[in-house]
Subunit: 315 residues, 2 copies
């Protein structure tokens, strides 16, 4: 097939317009791309338009004010007509995604890439009914995708991965490529590993939920916004770097691993987490907390862009 060059992409079709789809649409529009949005839910256009507007206002704070056009379609065929790229965000049901991707694959010329935002499923499972699975990939964003730069790519091979990376990089995203598919890709596996210990510390009564949260976002979480875990230990090794670290402190890491917890998520532990969150939230609604998170993310992203050239999101 003749691949469409990623710098020729002008129209993106967004399949599935929940929170994720609206966020993607806002990002595409803010970079000047046109978006054709499709969702089978009645009345999705008004909800999506409102969510897109809110996200575009946030992107404008980061200086992204591109003026792509947004159109809504109730029929899949209409939404796919003229698409240069497709971002699929259907519910996390294997049956739903398999059917939708197969239908999109059937309707689209072979040069067009179809990217699935799936967080929970493997590429091999969701492309199973596609006639041309090689042009279907996973491109998993991190919530909210119009702000968080990460996109995890699982593709049929390096050529498709490179084309997808070029497209997302053009949108200021930081694509990373998996050499092979893994449940949870990379980032959610790292997050789950950390969360298991965060739950363990609650189960063991070591500290309050609020203090465990504060320990992360004022300690390693803060540092990880600047630099990943391997590089962090490279700097922890001093002049000898990661080799020195692994040779001298590797054994203490391995001992620490052995001491980590493997908690049961019992009703009692869940109750303690819920009570701890109530104390930490201190009356603030989920909406207020999400707005606060987004304000912090926008401020942090702005700061990282300012130190660009040396920008962490290029590392």
């Amino acid at each position: 097939m003749t691949a469409i060059e990623t710098d020729e992409i002008q129209r993106v079709t967004v399949l599935g317009c929940g929170t994720l789809g609206a966020s993607w649409a806002a990002l595409f529009l803010a970079h000047g791309l046109d978006v054709a949005a499709y969702d089978p839910a009645p009345g999705f256009a008004a909800r999506t338009a409102a969510a897109v507007e809110a996200a575009r206002a946030q992107l404008a704070e980061l200086g992204l004010r591109g003026a792509g056009t947004l159109r809504f379609h109730a029929k899949l065929e209409d939404a796919l007509a003229g698409a240069d790229f497709v971002q699929e965000n259907a519910p996390e049901s294997e049956a739903v995604k398999r059917a939708l991707l197969a239908e999109a694959d059937r309707l689209l010329p072979p040069a067009i890439l179809i990217a699935s935002s799936t967080s929970a499923m493997l590429r091999s499972a969701i492309v199973a009914d596609c006639a041309r699975p090689e042009r279907v990939l996973v491109a998993h964003p991190f919530h909210p995708p119009h702000l968080v730069p990460l996109v995890e790519i699982v593709a049929d091979g390096p050529a498709v991965a490179a084309r997808a990376c070029a497209f997302y990089a053009r949108l200021g995203r930081r694509p990373v490529v998996l050499n092979r598919e893994m449940p949870g890709h990379i980032a959610n596996r790292l997050a789950s590993a950390l969360y298991r210990e965060a739950v363990n510390l609650v189960a063991e009564g070591v500290a309050s939920v609020a203090d465990i949260d504060a320990a992360l976002c004022n300690g390693p979480g803060l540092r990880w916004a600047a630099m990943g875990p391997h590089m962090t230990y490279h700097l922890g090794g001093g002049a000898g770097g990661i080799r020195h670290y692994l040779d001298h402190l590797g054994p203490s890491q391995v001992r620490r691993w052995a001491s980590l917890g493997n908690p049961d998520l019992t009703e009692d532990v869940k109750d303690r987490i819920v009570a701890g969150i109530a104390a930490e939230a201190d009356g603030r609604s989920v909406e207020a907390l999400a707005a606060r998170r987004d304000a912090a993310l926008i401020a942090i992203l702005g700061a990282r862009i300012e130190v660009a050239g040396e920008a962490p999101n290029r590392s």
Copy 2:
């Protein structure tokens, strides 16, 4: 004992002036406190003075320009004379810390708190030779402590913990309190749990070291600079919050936990991490990378201070 009020603390004695001690000293000075620095190593004053100057320049970028005085002492008794608070940063040797803390305990009036920066040791072990162990606590910072706000407190009881928290909060730190001691406290346990999976992804050949690092600092790491893991899943639960999340997605977390790796840190895995870091560093020295990390941290901290009132480091 009559406790000294934390707002009366004017002179802090810093015991042990390696990287950590110098960083603490700079923080105290930038908040207008006087510092008496002690280290048994010959010629430590010149090295410490240079490190303190560099850190104070970074603090000045954050608007912290207090003018405390810094004095160097080669004798422990001289350094402790007139101290209102002590921060100990001796090498991570139990014998060294036990002896030093016992000697400081012997020399100081009982109202003075003695805080150890230990990352690896339990409070119960290092206070074993103290006559008044109840005024000796762990106050573990995260590197570099003049920039990263977290301080983990392990104390004999809530009264001492509260006094220490008040002191560190006055310095713009975010103290968290452990209800009981744990190896690695909170933050290094969370970091180790995550690193085990980061090493596993290298061992399993899932992605490059650089892409694993980028996945963290452009995804969950970025978000964790704004909000801790429990609160993140509270927002992930939508309107139903953490209860909805735990009831509906808790089982998939537990399944994910079961799928996480338990890698051996073999010579082969170490070689692959070292090679991966060489590729990621791309010729940049440890010093250059550390300077870049610090610049990013300063920018991020500045951004968080700007969204203050709602500041994440107060959460």
